[in-house]
Symmetry: C2
Subunit: 355 residues, 2 copies
C-alpha cells in the first residue's frame, strides 16, 4: 500500500486524490489518502470506481509556504499521518506534493534512519537516455559535511540500480571544472573522500568517475551525480526553468503564423515526445532516501497526472524493496558502517534546506 | 583599442584572429592580437583587409587545461601581454577565450583593483526579454565571504545599467526558496547583509528584491542575480547544457521524417530566431568586473562569430566607460567605500574558482 498526503500541493486535494485513484486502478494497488475526511469524501464519491482508495483522517495540514518547522508544529498533519502509516508497516511508501522542507523534517521525525545513514537525502532522475541520471542531494541538506557525499553516492547508486536497472552505476561529483582540485572547499574535500580507497570504509565500493560540470547533467557521462543540497537544488531548478523557457519559446515559434502551425501538424508526433521529455510530471518526483520507508516528493504544482506518476514511482520503489537494498548496501551486515558512530553527531548538526 | 588574446580557446588562433578582423572592420576599431607572430602573421595575411589589426608579440601561451597557477607561471603569455596593453593605457579592454581560471589570475596580477573593490567578479548576461538578466559571480570566486555579495550587487547593477541601459536595476539573491532564511549558511548571511540598510555603507543604494531560485534565472524577475562563484558557475553551465540538450532534441524532431522537414521549412524564420536565442556565441561572453580595465571571457569553444561578438561587447563596455562608472559607484567620491579597509584582507583570503 501507498500513503498519499492528499492535502499537500498547489492543487490539493482534488488533483492529488484524482491521481491517487488513477494509480490505484491502473497499478492494482491500495492507496490511503490522508487528510480531512469532510474534504476528501466528496472527491472519492464523485470519481469513478475507487474501491482500493481509503481515507486516513488527518485534521491538520501544512501550507505550501510553511517550512521545516511545520514538521514539529503539526504532529497530526496529513504528511505526518502518511509517514505514520509507513512507520506502522501499513504502507510501503509516502507520496506528497507539499512543502519540501516540511516533508523532509516530518519524515525525519516519523521514520527511523536506516543503519549506517546519518541523514536522508533527496534523489531526482534527470531525463537522459538510455537511462535517467540520478542527481543527489537535490535539496534535503543545504550545508552537508563533506563526509556525507559518500553516503549520497551510496544512496544514489542504490537508486540507479533499483529504479532504473543500471548495473554497477558510476558516480560523478558536480563542480566547476573537470580536473581534480576544481571547486569550492566543500567540493574539493568531497573529491578527496570519494577518490580515496573506499572499500576500506564501506561494504560495497563506489565506482567514482571524477568531476562533472553543470553542462554534464544531461550529457549522460555518469549514472549518479552527487552534490550538496544547495547546489543540487539550484541546478535542478535551473534545469527545469531552462526547459520550461525553451518550450515556451518553441510554442511561440510553432504558433507564430498559419504556415508555422501547419508545420507543427506535420511534426506532431515528435513534438508530443519532446513535450513529454521536458514535462516534470512525467517523472514522478524526487525520492527521499535513507529512511525506513521511501518518501516520493512530487512537484508542488502537480496535476492528477503528475500525482499518479508519483504514486507509480512510490509503488515501484516499494515493490523492488529499495529500503532493503539500501540497508544491504550500507548496513552492518556487509562489513560495517561507512560513517563511524562518532561522526554522526557532527554530521547531524549542519543546516537543512528547509530551515 | 581592444586587446585580443589570440592564443586562448579551443579553435585558437585561427578562429580568434578571424573574429578580431571581423570586429575591427565592422566596428571601425583598432585591435591588437597577442600571440606568436610566426603563427599570427599568415592568418592576418590570408584574410581580407586587416589594416586596423596588428600583432603584439607574446611567445608564451596558456593551454586550455591549465588553471589559475598559469597566471603566475607564464608572465609573457598572450593573456598577460593583452592585460599589459590595458595597464599601459594602450587598450581599453581585453578579450580572451582561454582557461577562465588562468585569465582571472592573470588579470588580477596585471590590472589594478578599482578603489573599493576587494576582488573582481564575473558577470554574464542571461538571454531574457526585454533586457538580459545579469548573473554575478559566474565563477571568479568559489568561496566568497558573504560581505562580497554586496560588491557583486554593485558591480552587477553597474553592468546592467551600462551594458543594457536598465534604469535602477533590481537585485535578487540566488538561493533555494523564495522566503527569507532559505538557503545554505552563506546565502542566509548574504541575505541579511543585502537586506540591511545599505545606504549607510555605500554611496549608492542597492534595490534588493529578495530571494530568487534556479527556475527564476530566465523568468526576468530581477535585473541582477547575485550568487557565489561556485553556485553561479554550476547554474550557468546547467542552463547552457539544458538549452543545448533541448536544441539537440528539437533538431532530431525536425529532421525525423520528410513531413517534419517540410514543417521546419514553414517555420524557418522562427526557428532561426530560436537557435540564435540559445546560441552562446551571440552574447559575447562573461565580463570580469572590478579591475582597471574590463576583461571579456568568451567561451573556450568559440568560432570566429563568437570571438567577434566578444570584441563587440568589449568595445561597447569601453565606449560606455564601464570602469569609470564602477569607480563612481564604488569609489570614495560618492561618500566612502562599502567595504571598510580592514575587511579587505579577510575577504581576499578565500578560494578562487580556478585554484
Amino acid at each position: 500500500m501507498i500513503a498519499v498526503d492528499a492535502m499537500g500541493g498547489d492543487h490539493a486535494p482534488a488533483e492529488i486524490v484524482a491521481g491517487a485513484i488513477t494509480a490505484a486502478r491502473d497499478l492494482h494497488i491500495r492507496v490511503a489518502v490522508t487528510g480531512r475526511p469532510g474534504q476528501l469524501r466528496p472527491l472519492l464519491a464523485r470519481l469513478p470506481a475507487a474501491a482500493d482508495v481509503y481515507i486516513e483522517p488527518a485534521e491538520e495540514s501544512v501550507a505550501m509556504y510553511e517550512g521545516a518547522l511545520a514538521g514539529w508544529r503539526r504532529p497530526r498533519s496529513s504528511i505526518a499521518v502518511a509517514c505514520q502509516l509507513v512507520r506502522r508497516g501499513q504502507a510501503g511508501a509516502v507520496v506528497s506534493a507539499g512543502s519540501t522542507g516540511a516533508i523532509v523534517t516530518t519524515a525525519k521525525l516519523r521514520l527511523r534512519l536506516l543503519p549506517g545513514v546519518a541523514r536522508p537525502a533527496l534523489a531526482v532522475a534527470l531525463p537522459t537516455q538510455p537511462t535517467p541520471t540520478v542527481l543527489i542531494d537535490a535539496g534535503a541538506i543545504a550545508d552537508p559535511k563533506p563526509e556525507l557525499f559518500i553516503q549520497f553516492a551510496h544512496l544514489g547508486v542504490a537508486y540507479a540500480e533499483i529504479a532504473f536497472g543500471v548495473a554497477e552505476p558510476t558516480v560523478g561529483l558536480l563542480t566547476i571544472g573537470s580536473e581534480p582540485g576544481k571547486g569550492n572547499k566543500l567540493a574539493r574535500r568531497a573529491y578527496e573522500l570519494l577518490n580515496a580507497d573506499l572499500p576500506a570504509h564501506a561494504g560495497v565500493p563506489i565506482s567514482f568517475a571524477g568531476n562533472v560540470e553543470g553542462g554534464d547533467l544531461l550529457a549522460r557521462k555518469v549514472d549518479v551525480i552527487v552534490t550538496d543540497g544547495f547546489t543540487g537544488n539550484v541546478a535542478l531548478k535551473t534545469l527545469e526553468g531552462t526547459a520550461r523557457f525553451a518550450s515556451d519559446r518553441l510554442r511561440e515559434v510553432l504558433g507564430a503564423s498559419r504556415a508555422a502551425r501547419v508545420g507543427a501538424l506535420l511534426q506532431r508526433r515528435g513534438l508530443r515526445e519532446l513535450t513529454e521529455l521536458f514535462d516534470t510530471e512525467t517523472y514522478g518526483g524526487a525520492a527521499l532516501l535513507g529512511l525506513e520507508g521511501t518518501v516520493v516528493i512530487a512537484h508542488g504544482a502537480v496535476t492528477a497526472r503528475g500525482a499518479a506518476a508519483a504514486c507509480r514511482l512510490a509503488a515501484e520503489l516499494t515493490d523492488r524493496q529499495i529500503t532493503e537494498r539500501i540497508r544491504e548496501r550500507l548496513g552492518s551486515g556487509r562489513g560495517g558502517l561507512f560513517l563511524r558512530r562518532s561522526d554522526r553527531g557532527v554530521v547531524g548538526s549542519s543546516g537543512t534546506a528547509g530551515r
